[in-house]
């Protein structure tokens, strides 16, 4: 059902955890639907220095959060905002059709965290 890449990110998720005094936090999804993703960002000079996540959800939800954090780490916030769910799916060598929404959540979580950063730092 899942690609090896998905299983790899599910079994050894990268960047799990929280960042104390994070510069931006994004939380999307809801418990009722069975998926919540929370992404924490540490940003210096508009560059994502560190990123952590916490996820409540299925295997695909964990894997998409994990790979999304890898894909934006070290990038500028402008670059990170260009992350699409399609890119997340491709990086994982595909997802089953009913799990595509997990990749959408990952994209949304990254955007929400950056929005939060911009709001807190009057960058809008």
């Amino acid at each position: 059902m899942y690609s090896e890449k998905v299983m790899d990110h599910f079994t050894s998720p990268r960047n799990v955890g929280e960042i104390e005094n994070a510069d931006g936090i994004g939380e999307v999804g809801n418990a009722k639907c069975g998926d919540i993703m929370k992404i924490y960002l540490k940003i210096e000079n508009d560059i994502i220095k560190d990123v952590k996540f916490k996820t409540f959800g299925c295997g695909a939800a964990v894997a998409t959060s994990s790979i999304a954090t890898e894909m934006i780490k070290g990038k500028t916030i402008e670059e990170a905002l260009k992350l699409t769910n399609k890119a997340v799916v491709e990086a994982l060598d595909g997802l089953p059709p009913q799990k595509i929404h997990c990749s959408v959540l990952a994209e949304e979580a990254v955007k929400a965290a950056i929005e939060d950063y911009k709001k807190k730092h009057n960058k809008q």
């Binding site: 299983m7 069975g34 939800a61």
Partner: protein
Amino acid sequence: MNKRIYLDHSATTKVKPEVLEEMLPVYTEYYGNPSSIYSFGREAKKLVDQARMRVAKALGALPEEIFFTAGGSESDNWVLKGVSYANKNRGNHIITTSIEHHAVLHTCEQLEKEGFEVTYLPVDNYGMIRIEDLKAAITDKTILISIMYANNEIGTIQPIEEIGKIAKERNIYFHTDAVQAIGNVKIDVKAQNIDMLSLSAHKFYGPKGVGALYIRKGTKIANLITGGGQERGRRAGTENVPGIVGLGKAIELATENIDSYNEKLLKLRTKLINGVMEKIPYTRLNGHPEKRLPGNANFCFEYIEGESLLLNLDMKGIAASSGSACTSGSLDPSHVLLAIGLPHEIAHGSLRLTLGDENTEEDVDYVLEVLPEIVQRLRDMSPLYEKVKGGK
């Protein structure tokens, strides 16, 4: 992975060697068509008749009241459609429950589109129907009551005898989907006033793709599968003779050994449930504490999601199932867990472990060693759990 533990016996079971042994020569030696008049056919016919006797004996029915089908879903379809169509002149109302298998629920939905009316009885927090609700739902248009014997997810066993009594008093047909009950619960269709009963061989160590429907003599029911004159003109299609032979042997073994099987499973289940409840906080047991299938344990672990749990267990060699949305193939978690009043977010974190023949105390010990770690790891990753730890 070296260790593999199968804990999903409500999904399906392994064919017992004694069952397979009786089935094999049917493929290669007694392969005749039971409808043929020559010796090959007569041999096959004899095997089908013997299997019918065994099923009848296991249920306390007459052999002529047993009809072989392709499994539980066909049997359920046959009852619901067959009774509805044949008794239209008497009424158009069916009573069932909100926790039935989809073979019943989806068939009822189809019948509703055709103009039949269906009452879905609610259940209490343990998954039991209330007899008062059943009595209140009966109208003079009610033609069928279809209530499962034991639930496939949470294992709760319904008050079948009481339901049978009420149905008889009110002169309404009573069907029970006993797919999960055979071999776990003692059944006597006459004493329990059951008019129709569905069963499926692969749930009690028989082969897949074969089941049966008991239909009490005199029941008005239309055919579902039309065609040739097999099964005394009631169910067309060349008999699945090897499967039927396997079903016959499997039900014989399942009912002969019911007491020792129950005792064994109950011991393991008690250890499993007590161990899980002790070792893992924020856990609830779903289903009735006592009136449940002997091998069934169903839990909800708060703040985590079922599919992640199953994948982790699988990596440790443990086969289990869950009622989370991600495993149900829809956006909602299991209809059974919602029906017993669990909120969505809790129902997503369900785990069903169903014990069987080959499980041992060591298997339970292994689960009790591995499961708490997995749950904790997933909780540590869950944004919902942070809030709990934070004292919120």
